[in-house]
Symmetry: C2
Subunit: 320 residues, 2 copies
């Protein structure tokens, strides 16, 4: 707990150690989160996602330079939900981000899957909190891919930039709905390559359809902008940063930002509740002979699972 | 419930209607599953997965023809976990499978996401059960993509064929670990195209590394075979069917098949338990004033979620 005090006093090493405890799912995590809770809510969280090879890390690097030029400190969390098999690519990305490693006002941390993917999403959220409590006014979450886990991770951002490259045309077709759900801004990177114009036109058409069809109620009036960038030579990066600020201003103008954060806190509570409840209930099931017999009967095929669940719940939830 | 009796007597229309109830998450589902439970466990479940455009439907069509030639009836469940945005591709696939639509011993059903993705996996499992109870000795689950949801769906198969095409090289790099986890057999389809040899060599190397490294304990001695197929002209399909039978025989030789099915039943029970528990607990939280106050405090940011969960659980799980 002394570590928390030191971290709140600005000790970067203490921050790094606390992040490691979050990564390792240490038993101290709940106590740490309780202690830092009063210091939360000041950071603005930016998410950068997209398929492998879309140049996300370079973009994060350039955006960080833009924020640093205005004096803002930046915390960066690079999340790789995939397996050790793909570790190489991400390691390469990390090396590309070395521009800022000597800058004391930039803190970069990579995180990879350990155990369950759901756990990675929670761990990322807790690292965001640590960086927020530490005092970074901007936190960037960078994540590879656009699958369900990545969506869960990136939903913790206030503004999300989805980065695509002309080569990701096919992926875009497959995941269009997921992309629309998560993107606040599209950045078509490596925009000098063949197919960039086509991809941008395609995205703009889809975005406009999505904007005008209004399936879900909107908390802000926002048609997702589609920008061309070439992060390696900074082209389009100031424009991207301007759109990020415009989105932030739109969220902050009314109650949208606070409402989104409330929904996020509620989802976090429900997720924790489900996990904790499941753990405690399964522990009881294994410890209790009658309940173990039900579990065995379902596992062995003698009892159907719906009847099994009914019997277990009747036992667990009977009122005092 | 009369519908269940009719279905068990071989009425295909009754089967179709029960599947619709499962898709719509009707309140009758638990009662239906209880009633058919004694009739389960006779079908062998084959899974076919792979990225869009890998020719899965043609392969399913050809495998079905092979099984039908031996007189076996086949139930087919084509699952599309993606959104309405990609509906077109799947519809096209369905049309390609029309060879068997007039065959009374082939039953084809498409399923798409309604609501949560977790729900789709459960619904697919319940449709497998309905087809099993109906009496199909072979059930084929076909699913697009290789993300987490698709993995959850395909894990319900006894033998899984992962279909790839030379163009899926990049996807293979990204998802290699996931593929190894799920595949019992690799089929490189459209094997006459450029890059097929390279992809097969790459897969065989990875498969062999995986086989010899033995990260996880193995229930059967099985090095994933990598086959070349050209489903459109039946090339390689008899060999694929032979490998499927060889894998089935390996699973059935010892206790592996039964153990895998036990693990699946256990996972199903736990999934149902978590879902039901969460629903009941959240209902209580909303109905109870004290608990609602905790929920509001966390949502509003006044209370940290770990403390909130602790308070809710203390209330819910206090012993009688």
């Amino acid at each position: 707990m002394d570590l928390v005090t030191r971290m709140l006093d600005g000790d970067r090493l203490a921050l790094a150690r606390l992040i490691t405890r979050v990564e390792n799912r240490s038993d101290e995590v709940p106590a740490v989160m309780r202690k830092i809770h009063p210091r939360l809510g000041r950071a603005y969280v930016l998410g950068i996602t997209g398929p492998p090879g879309a140049g996300k890390s370079t973009l994060v690097d350039r955006l960080t330079a833009g924020l640093r030029a205005e004096g803002a400190a930046v915390g960066i969390i690079a999340v790789d939900p995939s397996s050790p098999f793909t570790g190489g690519a991400v390691l390469g990305d990390r090396i590309r981000m070395q521009t800022h490693t000597l800058d004391a006002d930039v803190f970069i941390r990579s995180m990879a899957t350990r155990g369950s993917l759901g756990g990675l999403s929670r761990a990322t959220g807790n690292v965001v909190k640590l960086m927020d409590a530490f005092g970074f006014p901007w936190i960037i979450i960078e994540t590879v891919g656009v699958g369900q886990t990545e969506l869960d991770i990136i939903k913790q951002a206030d503004t999300t930039v989805v980065t695509l490259v002309p080569e990701s045309g096919d992926a875009v077709q497959t995941m269009k709905a997921g992309l629309m759900e998560v993107a606040d801004i599209f950045a078509v990177n490596k925009a000098d390559r063949d197919g960039a114009h086509q991809l941008m036109a395609d995205l703009r058409f889809t975005v406009h359809l999505h904007y005008t069809s209004a399936v879900s109620p909107k908390d802000i009036d926002w048609e997702i902008p589609v920008l061309a960038t070439q992060a390696v030579n900074d082209t389009g990066v100031p424009e991207l940063l301007a759109q990020i600020r415009r989105h932030r201003a739109a969220l902050e103008a009314g109650e949208a930002l606070e409402k989104r954060r409330q929904a996020r806190r509620r989802a976090e509570l429900e997720g924790l509740l489900v996990e904790e409840l499941t753990a405690q209930v399964m522990e009881r099931v294994h410890a209790d002979e009658d309940l173990s017999r039900i579990l065995e009967a379902v596992t062995g095929g003698a009892l159907d699972p719906y009847s099994g669940v009914g019997e277990i719940l009747a036992w667990i939830l009977r009122r005092p």
